[in-house]
Subunit: 152 residues, 2 copies
DNA sequence: ACTGAAACAAGGTTAAC
DNA sequence: GTTAACCTTGTTTCAGT
């Protein structure tokens, strides 16, 4: 696993914007021939810098217009509580992010649902699978920025 | 803009998992010929269900191992405060998400930085660009789940 | 109107330098 | 790193259901 140079960064920058460019245009953008480019990309893949290539869908069009952040506060709990919490949240496709936060007893959940009724179903499902003492939800009114691009 | 059927959903499911499969294998997965598949994908693109295709990078490898959520509480402010806030956050590449939350005076920011020093730089930069009264930060200790896949 | 089969062209992959 | 051959696969055309 090598260190990354300036040209690699530029390639990554392009790919995390749009992975559908041809090697030709990509090479042109970073000043490289078609397969010099190809070989670098391949290296970036095998070394794990590139985790994968995915399609990004329109949540509104798919009737998933409501994004909710749930803050879970949990008091003392059995040692395997985290296990069942992880398993439960990972198995629920509406939940797109789960994070253990600083402060030890806090978890943050991000989920996508159709509407309030959808949120309630999600909430009911979740507390049925894993005991949660204190849950508070905040809803996204406006998405000012949302990107998968990392700063390079 | 049409409604989406079951086969389209299966295609979208595949593509948001991995957009690098050939039309051949994709078609096999959903029970379609190569270009029946192709035409559906094309329709899903032009109708906007597919917003784009991107590469997902490894944040740790790129020295962006610290994810932080910042909660911004703002009291009364000039009518164009939101404008300058939006412009400022959108121009900062470390910031990967900005949301106006329910409760009217709350904004949530997600950012990726290298470490605490990186967070402090980001914070200093941000408050230099736009006046913020009350900012609290929570740091991600453990990423239990993180996906771009929407539930279908 | 939507399907599949086959021809075609573009672009990813390999080999040679 | 480059150029050029190669061959997979995306794209277009066409005919059938």
């Amino acid at each position: 696993m090598e260190a990354i140079d300036h040209t690699d960064r530029r390639i990554l920058m392009q790919l995390q914007r749009d992975t559908d460019q041809s090697l030709e245009s990509l090479g042109a953008a970073v000043g490289l021939s078609r397969n010099a480019c190809w070989r670098r990309i391949r290296a970036l893949e095998t070394s794990g810098f590139i985790k994968g290539r995915v399609a990004l869908l329109d949540a509104d069009k798919l009737n998933l217009g409501l994004t909710v952040f749930m803050q879970v506060r949990t008091s003392a709990h059995a040692p395997d509580w985290l296990d069942s919490f992880s398993t439960a949240t990972r198995s629920m496709p509406e939940i797109t992010g789960v994070y253990r936060m600083s402060g030890e007893l806090d978890y943050l959940i991000r989920a996508k649902v159709a509407d309030m009724a959808g949120y309630d179903r999600l909430y009911q499902n979740l507390i049925r699978k894993v005991p949660l003492s204190d849950v508070s939800a905040s809803f996204v009114m406006e998405e000012i920025k949302e990107t998968t691009q990392l700063p390079l």
